[in-house]
């Protein structure tokens, strides 16, 4: 089996995290002795931010204002994780990035370096209305109406261009759109099908 590289994209509330977990399990069951490297930027980020230093302080200020982080920062986090974890031949599942076109370009460059040939970009499509409904239902502390609107608007201006970028570079990464408004197991079934893992 060829090692797969899978990027999960979608707005907040699209179920990326859930699908990443299901997919990791499915790959592990299928992979035999191949390992699965699954990277979720949020968890990595929280560990890094628990430290006391000048950069962490600046990042905290940005987050308090609800601003986006500078491109170099997420790139630094995932390249660091890649360099520490990647060897030959493991499956890779990425969830939560790239979030800008610059990040997507750097990521393509990274895959070329690591000679990753089977790269899939899976866009979990849900409507803005559905995303809003799900975020309200989730009821996390930062899921205030204003916070939700800001994040959905940010998705439109930042992540939509990333999706366009992948559509245009379909030769490097295979781009697949999945209806994210289905039941969890149906979304998973569609992803498994798109990856030929049945």
């Amino acid at each position: 089996m060829e090692p797969l590289t899978i990027i999960l994209l979608g707005s907040q509330g699209s179920g990326k995290g859930t699908q990443a977990k299901l997919l990791t399990d499915a790959l592990k069951a299928k992979a035999g002795d191949m390992s699965v490297f699954s990277f979720e930027s949020g968890a990595h980020f929280r560990t890094l931010m628990s430290g006391e230093n000048y950069t962490a302080e600046l990042v905290r200020k940005k987050l308090e204002k609800g601003d986006m982080l500078p491109d170099f920062f997420p790139i630094w986090m995932w390249t660091d994780a890649f360099m520490k974890n990647l060897d030959h031949g493991e499956h890779i599942i990425l969830d939560g990035f790239p979030r800008t076109v610059t990040q997507a370009k750097v990521l393509n460059d990274t895959f070329a370096f690591y000679e990753r040939t089977h790269v899939y970009v899976i866009d979990l499509e849900i409507s803005p209305a559905e995303a809003e409904k799900r975020l309200i239902a989730r009821g996390r502390a930062d899921d205030t109406p204003e916070g939700i609107q800001k994040r959905l608007a940010w998705y439109e201006t930042q992540v939509k261009p990333v999706i366009e970028f992948y559509k245009e570079h379909d030769d490097v990464c295979k781009f697949v759109q999945i209806n994210g408004e289905q039941a969890v197991e149906d979304v998973h079934r569609d992803i498994v099908k798109a990856l030929n893992l049945e």
């Binding site: 500078p70 491109d71 630094w76 890649f82 610059t102 370009k105 750097v106 460059d109 370096f113 690591y114």
Partner: protein, 205 residues
């Protein structure tokens, strides 16, 4: 003196390192209130290549072929460096980065984030013939840490990616209001080059 953010780019053998040393010396003697932080991409890579690992092996192979390193490695290395060394009130000298336009885009985000005022590019230009001549001469020096200097094919490759990848970075910086770009003729005596660099930066000397 204003807080300085100076980037030095030029083909291999253009004398960047020498000029960076002189700039550092000038800053050290004219502004004793601030520290100077020096980010030398080549040095960071040489440390990286000494370590073991998959990425390290692949990167070492690229270097042995005279190739250009991927942007993610460059961004990772200078990010590590900035996270460790930037405290907000030090002069920053960058030697040998950015080398790809994606690398530049990421670096712009870092300059905004760290609120670095008016980054300036000092572009020290030399011709291909001059680059070849100087690198072959450098290869004969006893304490040269760069074994790749003596190989004419590798010198060729390095000049080629300078034209194909670094020149577009320099052009992008010229078009971007964030940066001031100073181009210096590197094919002069070392002192004359320094004279032009200081004049370009508007420094009294």
């Amino acid at each position: 003196m204003d807080l300085q953010t100076l980037i030095f780019l030029g083909p291999s053998g253009s004398g960047k390192g020498t000029q960076v040393a002189r700039v550092r010396e000038y800053l050290g003697s004219h502004d004793t209130s601030r520290n100077i932080v020096e980010l030398v991409m080549g040095d960071l890579f040489r440390v990286f290549w000494k370590k073991e690992g998959y990425a390290h092996d692949l990167s070492r192979d690229i270097n042995l072929a005279g190739g250009l390193q991927p942007s993610f490695l460059q961004i990772n290395m200078w990010s590590n460096f900035m996270l460790e060394h930037i405290r907000g009130n030090e002069h920053l000298l960058i030697d040998g980065s950015p080398r790809r336009t994606t690398d530049l885009e990421a670096m712009e985000s870092a300059f905004e984030f760290y609120k670095r005022p008016h980054p300036t590019l000092v572009f020290i230009n030399i011709s291909k013939e001059e680059s070849v001549k100087r690198l072959l001469r450098r290869a004969e020096m006893a304490e040269n840490p760069r074994p790749e200097d003596g190989d004419i094919l590798l010198i060729d490759n390095r000049y080629q990616w300078f034209l194909e990848s670094v020149m577009p970075v320099i052009d992008a910086m010229r078009k971007n209001d964030m940066f001031t770009v100073i181009e210096i003729n590197g094919e002069q005596e070392v002192d004359a080059v320094t004279e032009d660099v200081f004049n370009g930066l508007g420094w009294q000397h």
